[in-house]
Symmetry: D2
Subunit: 346 residues, 4 copies
Amino acid sequence: MTQKIINVGIVGGTGYTGVELLRLLVQHPNAKLTAITSRSEAGIPVADMFHNLRGWTDLKFVEPAAAALDQCDLVFFATPNGIAMKDTPALVKAGVRVIDVAADFRIKDIAEWERWYKMPHACPELVAEAVYGLPEVNRAQIVGARIVANPGCYPTAVQLGFLPLVEAGVVDIEHLIADAKSGVSGAGRKAEVHTLLAEAADNFKAYGVPGHRHFPEIKQGLTHIAQKAVNLVFTPHLTPMIRGIHATLYARLTQEVDLQSLYENRYANEAFVDVMPAGSHPDTRGVRGVNVCRMAVHRPQNGDTVVVLSVIDNLVKGAAGQALQNMNIMFGLPETTGLRQVALLP
Amino acid sequence: MTQKIINVGIVGGTGYTGVELLRLLVQHPNAKLTAITSRSEAGIPVADMFHNLRGWTDLKFVEPAAAALDQCDLVFFATPNGIAMKDTPALVKAGVRVIDVAADFRIKDIAEWERWYKMPHACPELVAEAVYGLPEVNRAQIVGARIVANPGCYPTAVQLGFLPLVEAGVVDIEHLIADAKSGVSGAGRKAEVHTLLAEAADNFKAYGVPGHRHFPEIKQGLTHIAQKAVNLVFTPHLTPMIRGIHATLYARLTQEVDLQSLYENRYANEAFVDVMPAGSHPDTRGVRGVNVCRMAVHRPQNGDTVVVLSVIDNLVKGAAGQALQNMNIMFGLPETTGLRQVALLP
Amino acid sequence: MTQKIINVGIVGGTGYTGVELLRLLVQHPNAKLTAITSRSEAGIPVADMFHNLRGWTDLKFVEPAAAALDQCDLVFFATPNGIAMKDTPALVKAGVRVIDVAADFRIKDIAEWERWYKMPHACPELVAEAVYGLPEVNRAQIVGARIVANPGCYPTAVQLGFLPLVEAGVVDIEHLIADAKSGVSGAGRKAEVHTLLAEAADNFKAYGVPGHRHFPEIKQGLTHIAQKAVNLVFTPHLTPMIRGIHATLYARLTQEVDLQSLYENRYANEAFVDVMPAGSHPDTRGVRGVNVCRMAVHRPQNGDTVVVLSVIDNLVKGAAGQALQNMNIMFGLPETTGLRQVALLP
Amino acid sequence: MTQKIINVGIVGGTGYTGVELLRLLVQHPNAKLTAITSRSEAGIPVADMFHNLRGWTDLKFVEPAAAALDQCDLVFFATPNGIAMKDTPALVKAGVRVIDVAADFRIKDIAEWERWYKMPHACPELVAEAVYGLPEVNRAQIVGARIVANPGCYPTAVQLGFLPLVEAGVVDIEHLIADAKSGVSGAGRKAEVHTLLAEAADNFKAYGVPGHRHFPEIKQGLTHIAQKAVNLVFTPHLTPMIRGIHATLYARLTQEVDLQSLYENRYANEAFVDVMPAGSHPDTRGVRGVNVCRMAVHRPQNGDTVVVLSVIDNLVKGAAGQALQNMNIMFGLPETTGLRQVALLP
């Protein structure tokens, strides 16, 4: 039997999303990595920069112009925001499908996107057609998508955590609270002072409380799920760890419901969402390196407030792993292909 | 001029609260440490166990019986819960004043205490007289107290953060949310698996969501402040750092108020509470090693939810430093005596 | 084609070596895990204790007596020292092969073993037959071994690092220096104070400088390689990280040699030893989670001292991974079977 | 009695050495901080950048030109290498004394300095007069110095550790080995990728093995002590912690000597060197935040190799604390003035 082969290109492979895509793609039985671009590192073997890839790939970073991306079946953008929207129109025209792991196609309201990302959008017409790549919500649309907007890390943990409550209409959706904590790899592999080990280790702080770019994305996603306007307070925090997001979610119940059953039933057929038994506390290390969103639902003191604990690896289910999950769906592969690792613990 | 000298004893000096009391007491101009007890380490020089005290003290741990604690002016209990309540009656009878840094005298409702701490209380009659040692609330009562119940670490950060809102009566006090994150020293210097570096590092999780011992303490404290029943959801989390608590507090506004002024005015005369300018984000390292609660108040998207960010060092303002603050008040010293260190950053 | 299936039992599965064996075995195509024992946790599902195994195994810990280990093809001991030597004689008699990941069969000189491990040995006669499971040295003997003594973590990194120099006879083997640094998982999943996060994080120290149990093991191994007496100074250090060993090795050259070629040639056919280009610096994260020993060789200032940098993941090539490598060899499988993961970086 | 006041300026106050100088100076009874310069941050209050200084100083960063540094009694340079050498001539001419915490005045051999620091030296004539500020070696010369070259962090830990052996002439000084491990604050507060938390945490590696700038400094210092040529191998490593250096030093004995007495006697009158009892292991946290070099000396297996364990806080005894120690000596103050903190543990 001939195995289906997907020719894959990566634009911008020097960041954490890039190396994580590489880690997963070199193990994927149906993906053939044909090019990885980087302006700054062109000519450098990928494995010289990322030692974990020694022995796994001989690829070198190439200039974008030399990458022949239009020959690929699929191109991942693991770039800063604002790059994918420039290159995607030509690729799509050439028949290449695109998964943007950055934010260029996530927000449907162009004016809203431009306000948060502080630049004009280069291809508003393609935003409308792009599918928001949260498979647990939009699986059917992803199948045929030319452009998939891979969700942000916080939005993945927060939306999957609230999803059963919002879908069932059992909570006050105008006053949701998402208190989220992220490891510093979420800030990317960028030379910056505030994410130095000497700044961020043995330290904890909130940031972006007045406003964070993932706020409109979460609000849009939950509104789509609820089919009416959702409002929330979203508080991100920087945590002294490398990987992992822990979202602690609060919602006020508006009617009685069996919370445990609600969650277990909603996710019964999802390979990558794991609902723990009642009374549990998921930890981020339990999903370190794997494409899983694990959660537990609580009702403290039997009061009217639901507390959902939702964890992901921000680089996997929050980025590269979810991107491969979308790739599998787009190309008709079993959804778990190449995504069956065991989390690294301890 | 003769300087006032307070003869001080410590019961249970081998934990983190103990060594932190020692660090602060050896620098305090009016405290004379006369005895420190430990059954397991009797005979061992304190500085052999805690290298930071080399050159600062020649004291050895002694058996409790040999400590002559009844000759002290003040005894600190830095013991597990359940010890102070046994020894305090005799000390008080002997005219010794007591500061319990553990939980034996914190909860006024004895049945409630016994339910959370799972043991019968040994001296309920003294609980009634004990003063809850949160100086920013109970300063006047602390002055003459024979027994001070030093507040828990989470309760300090949470109560000080909510205090201005609750006192002013401007929020819905039946639905407060305290999402709190603590460094692992909060679990004490105990041989346990879950706080090993290999378990707790590069990891984040909530714990005790169904119920935590600091919940009734916070509820009692806020109810005392509000003069009517307060209810809250309290979610503690374990954070991979040594010291520090970050409490992220949510409350629903019931009327308009100038939040920044409310906070600045309330704490204008407090030496150990620092209200940051509007829009700020305090970090735990900024109070590492010092007796300060630093906070900032936000109103995201100008909605009806207030978000307060409140940080302390759990071992200082959350334990030993607050204990010395109480000592200073009890013995008529300026409140900042011996507590003017600069936080260690980075 | 029928696939060979190895029925595997694990004795003592609640430590880090145990969970790491599980992580690798559930992904191994030829291993069938039939029993895992734990006295303290009997009846508990393995995945309840280690969340990374949720969805991978339904096994519960069982009492050793109930494990039917004598029906296994192979039993791993992931126990404290002193257990395997008691149970191995009966298993071997029953035709079961044994890999001891602890230290019971590592030291050939029984008196020496008893001095360092402070207990009488229970089966000295089996020590003689046991094969020291460092495949890069003893591959041929491992094939037919009934008992394999899986090497210690430090000894693996140190011996593989010195091996080419010692084998070639180009250094002063009476004055080797091994300055080794380990993550705290090397101390095991035991409730102890000194490996608490609050003790070991943001801290660095040497330990066991007067003498460490891995010293006689390294000395015996290098002496075996050199075919004459080797002596060394071995200095272990505790490093604030979870996984990883970095051995920095010093040897005085006694003759000229092309160091880079010496190393590359010696390990040219080894799947799990990776010699980096001249001038490189391996990092422990580059082998996080994988069965690789990566090294680089230096000659600073072109002087007469060789410096070798050798890194492993202490739980993989330093324990569970090397144990599976030995299993593969013992059962005639390709040596890399089930051991082709990509290191988790960052 | 009038207290001596030293008017102090700091050039380059936004790095870790700068903030550490500030932390110590605001507590120093005789220092009056009059100006702190930063081109990039001019106009910003120092306490806005470093929260630990809130309430301690109202100073703002100023442009160098506006700082009136020539009115100071003493100027500290906490700048990148290459700045102090440009500004010092004019300051010295104006009668201002200078302590350079960077490397401009450390190496007497100008050609050697220029080779390692890759720039021409701006004032070679002042290098000759500058005093190398290691008080335990050069105290007498520091008293009257116009320019003090504050030692590097590694050189401080390594030289103090080897000093008694080298001075006594009891070891082979041509084959010393210094295996040193540093926390990442040693790399400075600079936006760089390799010191990001996501790169450096849970990771360990050597760097600069072929050659590091502190190598010639150590070699010069030990040669000065020995009064004849010393040679060594120096291997620095990056450790996942914020502060601290642990130097593990190896030397071959050339004659019998009572090592413990040698060390205790040499440092008997040194306030900032602490020799531990035989058999001890110092840890870096034991000196966190304080101006102490703590050490222990070992002779493993009673062989001919001495192992010295020497720890400092790289930002205090390895930088800012030693700079204040030098200031105290230069201005006739007791050497411990303002330097009597207790290390922060845990």
